[in-house]
Symmetry: C2
Subunit: 305 residues, 2 copies
């Protein structure tokens, strides 16, 4: 379903820009991931789906696949890290999917998923490195272009969070057609800035094995091959923000925007608020990608900021 594009006077004041928020926490399942998952599943032949689908995900792709599979009456199994937010585990099960847990730091989730596929003949639904997934996430970009035009605005820049790169590459691809003069930037957690570094070096860089961040949705360890191929052609640059800057952005979203953002959903807003890019006098859209955060963590962030 379509989400609105919200003008944000409160953010205009702190950035000197004319700003808009694309609030993907208001999307079905609480994040943009439903877009790609539904697009993928509705393009697969029913025959290919009879043995069900399998996905691995830190939680938002899991919910997206589970909800899309439930709507299309396809069995779904999802491999999720044991330390995923409780709300993500609970909702994924709530959409009727089978959840299999693994240890994020000791096990290889792709191998766990492959075992399932080998045993059941299920179809793997990639989290980002798949043209149908990228095209689905790209509907965010199509909507932004249409909605900005309805406000009479030509956008100078769009800031988009980045894990494996599906959302930002799809959004950039859509906007390269619909609004070619708009600059697109990826935003990552500081120690997970593999896309930012890869954009500079021209090859897919890796994240340090010891890296940690509370942005549980954005912990991909290297850019996708397909997503990076698009991103290196279409992005104007990669930004990175600290966990403390992300917490400030979550609190700003609570106080001024009245939106519930999960850490990974607030990185692009954090980049705007902490001045990673000079936005003064520009028209800027900020994609907030999701809001699936546990109440305990959310309360802690509100208390500490």
């Amino acid at each position: 379903m379509q989400t609105p594009l919200l003008p944000c006077p409160a953010l205009d004041a702190s950035t000197g820009a004319r700003t808009f928020i694309k609030p993907e926490m208001l999307q079905r399942t609480g994040s943009f991931k439903f877009r790609g998952a539904y697009n993928k599943l509705s393009h697969c032949a029913q025959q290919a789906l009879s043995a069900g689908v399998v996905a691995y995900s830190s939680g938002n792709h899991a919910q997206g696949v589970a909800a899309a599979a439930q709507m299309l009456q396809i069995p779904a199994a999802v491999v999720m890290p044991a330390d995923a937010p409780a709300i993500k585990l609970e909702n994924t099960r709530g959409y009727g999917a089978e959840v299999l847990l693994y240890d994020r730091y000791r096990e290889d989730r792709e191998a766990v998923a492959q075992n399932l596929i080998d045993g059941r003949g299920s179809l793997l639904v990639e989290p980002y490195d798949d043209p149908d997934i990228i095209a689905g996430q790209g509907t965010v970009g199509l909507e932004i272009a249409r909605q900005a035009a309805a406000h009479g605005i030509g956008l100078d820049a769009v800031l988009v969070c980045c894990g494996g790169g599906g959302l930002v590459s799809g959004t950039a691809l859509a906007l390269s057609e619909a609004s070619p003069r708009t600059a697109i930037y990826s935003v990552e957690p500081a120690d997970f800035d593999d896309t930012a570094r890869s954009l500079v070096s021209g090859r897919r860089e890796q994240v340090d094995p010891g890296a940690r961040s509370f942005c549980d949705a954005l912990l991909a360890r290297t850019p996708g091959s397909l997503t990076f191929e698009l991103n290196r052609q279409l992005l104007s640059g990669g930004l990175a923000v600290s966990d403390a800057e992300v917490a400030q952005a979550m609190a700003f979203a609570f106080r001024r925007l009245k939106l519930v953002a999960e850490p990974g959903g607030a990185v692009a807003l954090a980049a705007a608020l902490s001045g990673k890019l000079d936005l003064k006098g520009k028209a800027v859209a900020i994609v907030m990608s999701g809001g699936n955060v546990d109440p305990g963590l959310f309360a802690r962030v509100l208390k500490e900021t």
Copy 2:
């Protein structure tokens, strides 16, 4: 500014209805009150405004008047209860208004405001009992009608929170023209159900002096005379919810809608979730009126629900 009308699959499942949320916490100043205040101030002659405006408010009308006055470059003073949420006091001052505190249970806010007016010759901006205020809040109803039509939906019912009755009467007035077959219901905190009782008795009933509720925005002690005259002609009935039901609704909004609701902003959602009306099979819009809630209270609600 216009707010969206959001389809709510998560709420459809719990009510058996096709539901839409009108999220007025996304409105400028975090509540619908900006609509009426801006409409009022922009219809007053500049001459009448040169001595400034005065308002009394538990906090959302305060912010609405302060922000509208700031945009129109009019001095504003607001009389607010000393126990108003800190976020409301802070934001009202942030919009450049002078704030005067009074004791909600011992002083008469209208008298405090009148003193100011007598001294300064300022214009009083009524919180609800004024045709320009009611018309401004009624743009919520106009938008609901247009947006529901864009979804191809004829609404069976609209649930709207009610303090003094400005929002619900304006919304009902707009919908009586734009969507005459839609039933409108007011929703109040259980011990502040003066409008519900007045609709039954046909005269303006009073709230018990000992009544308390954490819905700080909805503590009006009797219906407005103009708003009640409209409401008794236009409403299908009045509902009431307990503070515990409101807390559940705030938590539901956090978990499933990803919206920050203040207690008074969640009463209509609480009525839907707790089954105060049989909504099964119906198309229903629920107005959530505001999101100006202190982080401490919000965290407590998340913890206790």
